[in-house]
């Protein structure tokens, strides 16, 4: 018996020199790896899981950070303040987000789901990596108005965070990289595909109503060239002809590229959970899906760099997508099949 013990001790000591043997490390740390759910009909993962593999402890830490007001200068604005789970992590009914001291931003908070499959973040693609995205809301004065260095100081002064960083990461350090990695680990796990659409189209366990079926056909002929694929976005930056709001004169993508050809282009949003993520457009100007379809039907303006896609369904060559009232009702019925209520109630992502 004693000899066996010696051998086991030797194996563990030798294994401790070898970072490659993850199975051993996992058992010792009791920090299990998590797999990002990947429905087989989803696009390829864009998130580099090898560089930052999600773990149970990292996910827990990321969740605590996500809901912690410490990330803001006032101590009360957390990520979850503007990204509320019951509305697929948007700031429900707020046209633009409210930040520290009641400051108003100029853009509508985007939903957080299926981020592991996204190529760019923000309406203008200001962050090309999820791990870099967090700088924006934390440091923007009208959002959390804080410095990353200050957040780290606050976390270091907190014994719970010291323990959690220690459990979640091999080097246990409270630094920017681990801070952002933990937030990413929480966010990439938030995959949403428990919808009627998925049950009908991919699982064959439900059926569309006649109205939904008609809406699907209309959607495919009139909307899906931009809202394409299983995430219902081509992940491109496009100008849909939304009238320019002089209050903001938000030029969108060109702020990032400096290229005038990108003026007024914004990222085509995913339509999964779209029923829940009102209000709509980058500035939240439309409160209902009906308002959105009314805009595509008769409100499109030929602003600079308008997408050619806005002309394809129009024989008169006026920009826009003509729709009858019946067609709008049918499309909305279809869009509502993209709602994932389980996702909004999932306790794994919940604050309380």
């Amino acid at each position: 018996m004693k000899q066996i013990f010696v051998y086991i001790a030797m194996i563990f000591l030798l294994a401790s020199c070898n970072d490659g043997d993850e199975a051993v490390i996992e058992d010792l740390d009791e920090n299990k790896k998590l797999n990002i759910p990947q429905p087989d009909y989803f696009p390829e993962l864009t998130y580099d899981v090898d560089a930052n593999p999600p773990t149970e402890k990292g996910f827990e830490l990321g969740k605590k950070l996500f809901y912690d007001g410490k990330l803001s200068s006032s101590g009360v604005i957390s990520c979850g303040f503007c990204h509320m789970q019951e509305f697929s992590f948007t700031h429900h009914t707020h046209k633009v987000s409210h930040g520290v001291g009641g400051a108003l931003g100029n853009r509508n908070a985007q939903p957080l789901h299926n981020l592991a499959f996204k190529k760019n973040f923000n309406w203008d693609g200001a962050a090309a990596h999820l791990d870099a995205q967090f700088i924006i809301p934390i440091t923007t004065d009208v959002e959390m108005n804080e410095e990353i260095g200050n957040v780290l100081d606050k976390l270091r002064a907190d014994s719970t965070y010291n323990e959690m960083f220690d459990e979640a990461f091999e080097n246990g350090e409270i630094n920017t990289e681990n801070f952002f990695d933990a937030l990413s680990q929480f966010l990439v796990m938030m995959v949403s595909n428990e919808t009627k659409y998925d049950r009908v189209v991919h699982e064959g366990t439900a059926n569309f109503s006649a109205e939904e079926q008609a809406g699907k056909a209309l959607f495919e002929s009139k909307c899906s060239s931009c809202h394409s694929g299983e995430l219902f976005t081509n992940q491109q930056f496009m100008n849909n002809g939304l009238p320019i709001d002089p209050q903001y004169d938000d030029k969108g993508r060109s702020r990032i590229t400096g290229n005038p050809e990108d003026d007024y282009k914004f990222q085509v949003p995913s339509l999964r959970n779209v029923e829940l993520t009102l209000p709509y457009m980058h500035d939240g100007r439309f409160e209902t899906l009906k308002d959105v379809l009314d805009f595509y039907d008769s409100g499109v303006e030929e602003t600079p760099n308008i997408s050619q896609e806005m002309y394809q369904n129009n024989a008169n060559a006026n920009a826009g997508i003509p729709l009858t009232e019946e067609e709008k009702t049918q499309i909305i019925a279809f869009l509502k099949t993209l709602s994932d209520i389980d996702f909004t109630l999932d306790e794994r992502y919940a604050e309380f």
Binding site: L13, C17, N120, G125, A127, G149, T176, F180, I256, G258
Partner: protein, 261 residues
């Protein structure tokens, strides 16, 4: 009892084998880099000092900061030593003398012929390889574009005048990469012109950065034409290209009096 002794001995040996501290002293040395920002052949003095640049423009410089990264040393035999990437991000800030001196440790002993480093942050690495941990430093130095999740590689501000009769106007050059379609990271390669031995003696390489070359190394940039270059797909790449050609080896100093040991 005997078995436990064996266990103890094995444990000690196994733990020792994880550590290489005991051999570090003989195989590694230090290198100091001094970034000496000059205006042509003159010393750079911030605020109120007038300098003549190309295009008959006078400038005063209030602020000069830039990011250096990805330091590599080339050995005589052609081998490349890469300084640990996560420790190789620096803000050079003319206002802060300490920031001009980089102390690089744990360099393998040997003869080196040149140095390579990056201007800015390599996009392919971002945000990997620990560059995230550079954020608080960049933040303190105002080298972070909060709204674009990216770094400013160069923060260069001051004022300029186009003639005796005209007053001074402010100018601003803030240059970085934007998303994936505007990559302004540059690699700089400088030859020492001699062999530099990393050994027990303290070695210092003085690198001159000529501010005037930011305006004319490759592209002629007149402030009267454009005095605010920030997110600019036409002019920002020109500033970066000029920046790439603004560095040169000024001096190599071996201090035999103060060895590392």
């Amino acid at each position: 009892m005997k078995i436990f002794k064996i266990v103890t001995i094995i444990s000690v040996l196994a733990l020792l084998s994880c550590s290489d501290d005991d051999i570090a002293d003989q195989t590694q040395g230090d290198l100091k880099l001094l970034f000496d920002n000059q205006v042509g052949d003159q010393e750079l003095i911030l605020n109120n000092e007038n300098y003549e640049k190309n295009g008959d423009e006078m400038i005063q410089i209030d602020e000069l900061k830039y990011v250096i990264s990805n330091i590599q040393l080339e050995k005589e035999n052609g081998e490349i030593f890469t300084y640990p990437v996560e420790d190789s991000y620096f803000v050079i800030n003319e206002e802060d003398e300490q920031s001009l001196n980089l102390n690089l440790g744990d360099i393998p002993v040997g003869d080196y012929t040149g140095i390579r480093f990056g201007f800015g942050i390599d996009q392919s690495e971002y945000p990997l390889n620990g560059v995230d941990n550079f954020i608080p430093t960049a933040e303190e130095n105002g080298m972070l574009w909060a709204w674009a999740a990216g770094y400013k590689f160069l923060k260069f501000e001051g004022s300029y005048s186009t003639g005796i009769s005209s007053g001074f106007q402010p100018f601003i050059y803030h240059v970085g990469s934007h998303g994936e379609n505007l990559d302004n990271y540059k690699e700089i390669e400088l030859d020492f012109g001699q062999s530099l031995s990393i050994d027990q003696y303290e070695q210092r390489v003085d690198i001159k950065m000529d501010v005037l070359k930011i305006f004319d190394a490759t592209y002629q940039l007149n402030l009267a034409d454009k005095d605010d270059i920030q997110v600019d797909p036409v002019n920002a790449p020109k500033v970066s290209e000029n920046m790439k050609r603004s560095f040169e080896i000024k001096d190599i100093i071996t201090d035999t009096l103060f060895s590392n040991q």
